[in-house]
């Protein structure tokens, strides 16, 4: 897929790609097919080398890539019969969290996710994917609806954080998140979480407690964004790369400390390079997870979900 944004470490690839394009334009008049084939082989090697050795900070950049599929892209391409449901029944509808009923491979589900915008206008509308309390309260309401009608819940996490604004505080941002954490710990229906992009702190976790927590290969999930971590601990915005390393915010890091259960592979170069393949993987993965979870009773689901989170943390006892 043609990308509108080229990340720094992708430049060598893009340069080769454009060279091939130029040569292909000349291929009708000149016999240069062998050279083109050779370049294409080179590009494949380069690609697999670059993407195999990405630093954590580079992955953060992929997770934030403006062409990366967002929640509504997954909903449109992985699910059918989606009906978006709006509002928290108390204050307003929050466009930074979308939610609704849908069908996945013949199974009816409730799907909830953070939603970013792709341009200035849609980003203002979506508040850059940063929910206000009413977003979490909409999710709360629909989690209860899902339980009532025996529907499994799928949550897609992709937020730079809960919105740190004046009105958000006035309306109880902390309380809204806290209540979701408690409700999600007692919901007698299967919950599958997928971190699809950015999993920034409480804003992400606010819809993030599940029986299974999955994470896309290039997504990040941590207590704080690397830039903010840099500004607090290093007192400068310049240490984001070090902060990303120190935070161990990648999927391979988090599976080791059991914060996540499964890594979902992305197409080479990231989900945005081949969204169709990504959607296909997502459908297969979610179906597999739900097939297993839907066999369990509500009590078992709650018990196992709690046990999994009780187990989180590392400490010593002398």
């Amino acid at each position: 897929m043609a990308s509108t944004t080229t990340l720094e470490f992708e430049k060598p690839i893009v340069e080769l790609e454009s060279k091939i394009e130029e040569m292909k334009a000349l291929a009708d008049t000149l016999d240069i097919q062998p050279q083109i084939d050779d370049l294409e082989r080179q590009i494949e090697i380069l690609r697999s080398e670059i993407y195999r050795n990405l630093t954590r900070w580079q992955r953060v950049q992929i997770a934030r890539h403006p062409d990366r599929p967002y929640t509504l892209d997954y909903i449109t391409h992985c699910f059918t019969d989606f009906i978006e449901l709006h509002g928290d029944r108390a204050y307003r509808d929050d466009p930074a969290i979308v939610a609704g009923l849908a069908t996945l491979n013949g199974r009816h589900v409730m799907v909830v996710g953070h939603q970013k915008g792709r341009d200035t206008k849609s980003n203002l509308y979506r508040n850059f994917g940063m929910p206000n309390p009413e977003g979490y309260r909409k999710a709360y309401r629909l989690f209860e609806t899902a339980e009532k009608f025996g529907l499994p819940v799928i949550c897609l996490l992709d937020t730079p954080g809960a919105f740190p604004g004046l009105e958000a505080e006035e309306r109880g941002q902390a309380e809204a998140i806290a209540r979701n954490l408690k409700l999600m710990s007692q919901l007698k229906t299967p919950i599958v979480i997928v971190v699809i992009g950015e999993g920034a702190s409480g804003g992400a976790l606010g819809i993030g407690i599940g029986n299974r927590v999955l994470m896309l290969e290039n997504a990040w999930y941590s207590v704080i964004a690397p830039e903010s971590c840099s500004s607090i601990l290093w007192r400068s915005w310049d240490y984001k790369e070090q902060a990303a390393e120190a935070l161990r915010l990648g999927a391979t890091d988090l599976i080791k400390v059991k914060v996540i259960d499964r890594i979902v592979p992305e197409p080479v170069g990231g989900a945005h390079r081949d969204p169709v393949a990504m959607f296909q993987t997502m459908v297969e993965t979610l179906t597999e997870e739900l097939d297993a979870l839907c066999k369990l009773s509500g009590e078992t689901l709650v018990k196992e979900r709690r046990a999994k989170f009780y187990d989180m943390g590392v400490w010593t006892e002398a």
Partner: protein, 283 residues
């Protein structure tokens, strides 16, 4: 925790100044009144003149709230590990070592059991003086263990929060303590046991967005800073000064997010009365 910018996080000098000194005479940081230690103790570490509430740690809260001779500390041996081998400008291990020697505390929380006017409770109290009261794996684990004691012995659970939020040096593991503690409170709630959450200055970030805001009854001490994002972060977001009293206890009471704002001198009696009401159906 404050999610975007909180520059003061590791300035220990400020914390040291604001903590209760152990001298015979103390100067109130608000109104500069000189207070004799005995008088301060009798006043539950609040200023007799201006009612300013001093930041105190768990041992003083035990003195204020728990019946004499009933306190038994638990799980002191649970200590922070450094699972991510976190290093910023200093290694996490060095920060921990310094915090142990400076405070003589086991971590940012102390837990145990005791009685409040004869009502047995499981109790936990955070220590802001220990790395800003930050919540890492130890805080989460001890919260759940203390709460489980309440569950096993059918007692109420009372917990005092004082925290800047999740501990950055344990990264995602700190974040997951929000989930762990909240999951436990759903279990405690099903057993019908009361959980009283007391918010003191400051209660922000991941602590406020989990167990602190989940009390059956939530009590705040006067003028405590309580919120999700820190004031500086919000000012940067909205690019203007915050109004006076924003995110203070009285503001939260007005907006419906705490049940009561209670002077520290009245706290013990109020907790006892609340628990008597809430536990009345159990006997």
């Amino acid at each position: 925790m404050a999610w975007f910018l909180r520059k003061n996080r590791n300035i220990t000098t400020e914390q040291q100044l604001r903590e209760m000194p152990d001298g015979l005479w103390t100067k109130c940081p608000e109104c500069a009144t000189i207070i004799y230690r005995k008088e301060l103790e009798e006043n539950a570490y609040t200023c007799p003149k201006c009612d300013s509430h001093f930041r105190i740690g768990s041992s003083k809260y035990v003195d204020v709230l728990i019946d004499h001779g009933t306190w038994v500390e638990t799980d002191r041996q649970v200590r922070s590990a450094d699972p991510l081998e976190f290093i910023d400008t200093r290694p996490y291990k060095a920060r921990l070592k310094e915090a142990y020697s400076r405070t003589d505390l086991p971590d940012a929380v102390t837990t145990g059991t005791g009685a409040v006017h004869g009502v047995p409770i499981a109790f936990g109290c955070m220590n802001f003086g220990f790395i800003g009261g930050s919540m890492g794996s130890v805080v989460g684990e001890k919260f759940v263990r203390a709460g489980r004691r309440a569950l096993d012995q059918k007692m109420p659970f009372v917990f005092i929060s004082a925290s800047g939020g999740a501990r950055m040096q344990e990264a995602a593991l700190s974040l997951m303590q929000m989930a762990k503690t909240s999951a436990f409170l759903s279990e405690l709630g099903e057993a019908g046991l009361p959980y009283i959450s007391i918010l003191t200055d400051p209660t922000t970030g991941g602590v406020s967005a989990s167990y602190a805001m989940l009390g059956d009854v939530i009590i705040a001490e006067p003028k405590a800073l309580i919120g999700f994002a820190g004031p500086r972060v919000i000012e940067q977001t909205i690019r203007r000064k915050l109004p006076e009293g924003f995110q203070r206890s009285e503001f939260l009471l007005e907006h419906g997010f705490v049940d009561l704002v209670t002077h520290r001198k009245e706290l013990k009696k109020q907790i006892a009365t609340l628990l008597t009401h809430l536990m009345s159906g159990k006997s």
